[in-house]
Symmetry: C2
Subunit: 86 residues, 2 copies
């Protein structure tokens, strides 16, 4: 499955969420990671994220059977490293 | 087509990008909007976003032929209004 993870968490938890996310997915833009995951690894990612966030945070996963039909378009710059931890 | 728009822009441009985005898509989480768009409306959305961002900003569109195969999972809270303009 192909997963896009978008997080909106309190600034004091961003580094932790990003650290967990980068063990499973590729950082593509501040607050956004994506990549191929097996169902088992996706379950582990969610379990780990759930441990580091609070109920006021929001982490959204867009899940597709595969990347096949997905097209990604970028306006502006395609960032390569987290400039600030957002 | 189903479009997910994720933006990472300088704070002084967030309100403008959000305003444009909300004319075409539904806000679902800070920095994230999504919804059904015709190819013509998607082209207009991109043109309008391009006018308000700078090259240092990043706006990523995930485009699918339809929402059919897409599954969305949320951890934490499903926000209903932009708490802060991020």
């Amino acid at each position: 499955m192909y997963v896009v993870m978008v997080y909106d968490v309190a600034v004091e938890r961003v580094a932790k969420v990003l650290k967990v996310g980068r063990r499973y997915l590729t950082w593509v833009q501040n607050s956004v990671l994506e990549g191929e995951l097996s169902p088992a690894r996706f379950a582990r990612l969610k379990a780990e994220v759930a441990k580091v966030i609070e109920s006021s945070d929001a982490v959204r996963f867009y899940v597709l059977p595969d990347k096949g039909a997905l097209r990604v378009e970028v306006l502006g710059t395609s960032k390569n490293e987290p400039s600030q931890f957002i």
